[in-house]
Subunit: 191 residues, 2 copies
């Protein structure tokens, strides 16, 4: 079992807090503007919009050294819904990993809407969390946390695959925003 800190108490932060607690971990949920609390988890989930990540790195970067940092962001341009805000050949996860060289960054939870994490299903299919990262132990730890919560985790490869995971997240959000799918739907992964 792990001790997990989740920064950000929006719908994704709450959903991830719920499922990780259900999996038997100890969980600390911190509002992203609440700087009065220290990060105590071995695993830290950045459950905030991408633009807020840089503030967290600025204020808490040193305390994230040695930890597994989970990036769940989809760095959309929410004004245009027509592009991402990271360089085309990069990803939010790659930018975060570059800014936190002493952390082990894992991409996860960005291709599952909060509703499907809570429900455990998407359209009758098991909710599947796609996980990417360069550190095998860190990735296995996150996949184990997902599995302990009763959800399915799939290893999507190295952290380079975060670029594709963020494209999936972008597409899924744009389809929901255009009402082509609902916020309780999205991509189910069929094995």
């Amino acid at each position: 079992m792990s001790h997990i800190t989740i920064i950000g108490n929006g719908n994704m932060g709450q959903a991830i807090a719920g499922l990780t607690a259900k999996g038997g971990n100890t969980v600390e949920l911190i509002g992203h503007e609440d700087t009065s609390k220290d990060v105590t988890g071995d695993v830290v989930v950045l459950a905030v919009p991408y633009p807020s990540v840089s503030e967290i790195i600025a204020s808490r970067g040193a305390s994230l050294a040695g930890k597994v940092v989970v990036d769940i962001t989809n760095p959309l341009n929410f004004e245009t819904f027509d592009s991402l805000t990271v360089p085309a050949d990069s990803s939010a996860a790659a930018e975060i990993a570059a800014a936190l060289p002493d952390s082990r960054v894992v991409k996860a939870f960005n291709t599952t809407f909060a509703g499907t994490l809570v429900a455990g299903t998407v359209g009758g299919n098991p909710t599947t969390v796609l996980v990417a990262g360069d550190d095998a132990d860190a990735k296995a730890l996150v996949m184990g946390i997902v599995g302990a919560a009763g959800l399915r985790a799939i290893d999507a490869g190295s952290l380079r695959r975060a670029r594709e995971l963020e494209a999936v997240g972008f597409l899924q959000i744009s389809l929901a925003a255009a009402e082509k799918i609902s916020w309780t739907g999205g991509f189910a992964v069929i094995q």
Copy 2:
């Protein structure tokens, strides 16, 4: 009903020929190296690996003017399975559209494995073809062809979204190649 030419008689070309014929269209299936036959369809599906598209454009580009050209490619680097072969800020569809300025290019069928097009389902969910394009009439025509075949089509937006559709295709192929999913599985779109 449309007259459809499919260039490329591999598993995707055959699957698309089958479903478009089932939908009541007339279908012409041409091997991609068979230059003896002229393209006669109003809709031309390029069901070939991406590296072969440039040959088709070189030999048949003029005959594609005025037609709806459907790009189904996933431009993976199949040696490394670690990147796409198109520029990071572009897509195969964008490259094809630039090379065929007198055609109306629509991206479709690149996020569905051939097996799920033939079966009509993916893990019990209806197979969904995501369609992107800048010409509303051309996109509606392709969506209608998909719908007439009994599959579901979803409008994924402008041709810029081909970049994300190709990321989905890349990720899906890499998961199947790594045996994380099967070639009859993949992403189901839950509405």
